[in-house]
Assembly symmetry: C2
Homo-oligomer: 279 residues x 2
DNA sequence: GGGAGGGTCG
DNA sequence: CGACCCTCCC
């Protein structure tokens, strides 16, 4: 990738990339449509990958996205939980819907950008429950197994790919507000971090966020709803990621994170990230 | 009672009564507090009787009422359903909480206006379910039995009393948008109307609403939530009532119904009624 | 349609 | 805390 114009900053460098791709765990797309429309209007990514849409496909707000200029949609939805959608201003072709848990949950959709040599994989990794021990908490085991299947998939991957979404893991110490206090908290345990590293190494994924906002700079993408004021104590974590194949990563020219979105009206607990590419 | 200045109108005649009393089925007092405060500010009844407060007593918004100038409260609440509250600018003394069904439901509270010879009974009659046949719908039987116990109570009554609230019965043909289409609909069946008439005759209650807005004039107090626009077709019913003892009724000088409240922000499906008295 | 409640999830 | 689900009630 090209060097960012200002490595200390998390705002988009003053470049106009060919293509911009954003990711946002939206925590109910129907409830959040007003702020999504606002985001699209203000930031106009070419492609937006949403997680936790929490709706069946038949209730997805296709019309609102079309009106906002995003007529192209690939989605995997289910009732009430999970669900991912990739919406685009540019033509996309759905390339895969993978069920890495083989349990029917809607946690992935892959698209190809038509006429561009780029695949975009939109994923929502399981949260993993409360206790970081698969013997007492099956959900934690499922999370690790999900990453294991993703790793097998990545190992066989041979196309220029961008994988984005809510990985539900903050791998670096600087990805959390307190490394020490979160070592035994699901999302930042050494076992999760190692498991994610194996996934990364399987394809040589480049962590674009940390290319532009280098460790050990503060970089968070999520703040819990359980604090009345999310800014109080700034107890954030970087759970959302944008990772690219090595060759594609070289074409990334900008990356930014929209922290103000956490303070919008009826916000998601996650904020949007965006990366620009010169293809 | 004194003749209304304009019997065709449902607006308050130009009099300043000694005392005004209002009734409103509020369908959750906590959710509706903003419009209740607005109503109190604009119409300033001395006493307001609320039904369907839908809260336990410990969660009743005493403070908001005190700030609005209504520090005196008598209430009977329960979790989730039913519940009545009488709030007042003037001192009141709780005189009774009657359980006419003997099932523990909070459907009545009676107060005495301190220093005035007037009792105000606030009641929420059971809705009665869907099918107007006690053999197949026990709730319909409970509604009739509730009115039966009220009739026994009224028969023994010997104080100047105003009974107000949601009776869940529209007795007259002009109390519903279509007499014919509602004859078999719970709230307007002949059996309910007869049962309510027996209650009325037991004490000689005067239907103050119909003294001021005489039959067959249109007079509704409720419109279902199940129409997107309640004004479309005007499918209303008069389910809420203010009935006075014969001698007290002679002191009623005004009565009006606030239809605009059905169109307020997050409205109740019922609207408030108000009666003025010269004691 | 729209209150309430309770349960589950994160 | 705030999404979702469901049932109950009007």
């Amino acid at each position: 990738m090209n060097a960012p114009t200002n490595p200390q900053s998390n705002v988009t460098p003053n470049v106009t990339p060919d293509i911009t791709v954003a990711t946002w765990n939206i925590n109910s797309v129907r409830l959040r449509m007003p702020i999504v429309a606002h985001y699209l209007k203000e930031h106009a990514p070419d492609v937006l990958c949403l997680q936790e849409i929490k709706t069946e496909e038949k209730f997805f707000p296709f019309e609102a996205f079309a009106e906002a200029g995003y007529p192209h949609v690939a989605l995997s939805g289910q009732k009430g939980y999970h669900g991912v959608a990739t919406v685009s201003r540019l033509p996309i072709r759905e390339s895969s819907k993978l069920d890495w848990q083989a349990n029917g949950e809607a946690r992935h959709v892959g698209v190809e950008l038509v006429g561009r040599d780029m695949f975009i994989e939109n994923v929502y990794v399981p949260a993993g429950g409360d206790v970081p021990d698969r013997a007492v908490n099956p959900k934690f085991g499922q999370k690790l197994d999900f990453l294991g299947r993703m790793t097998e998939w990545a190992d066989a991957l041979d196309k220029p790919t961008l994988i984005v979404g809510d990985f539900n893991i903050a791998p670096l110490e600087s990805d959390v507000w307190s490394h020490k206090q979160l070592l035994k908290v699901v999302s930042h345990t050494p076992l999760e971090v190692e498991t994610l590293k194996r996934f990364q190494d399987a394809h040589g994924w480049i962590d674009l966020g940390r290319e532009f906002i280098a460790d050990p700079q503060r970089y968070f993408s999520w703040w819990s709803y359980r604090a009345k004021d999310y800014t109080k104590g700034d107890r954030g974590r970087r759970l959302d990621h944008m990772w690219a194949s090595p060759e594609l990563a070289k074409q990334a020219v900008s990356h930014s994170v929209l922290e103000e979105a956490r303070g919008w009206e009826k916000p998601s607990d996650h904020i949007p990230l965006i990366t620009g590419f010169d293809l």
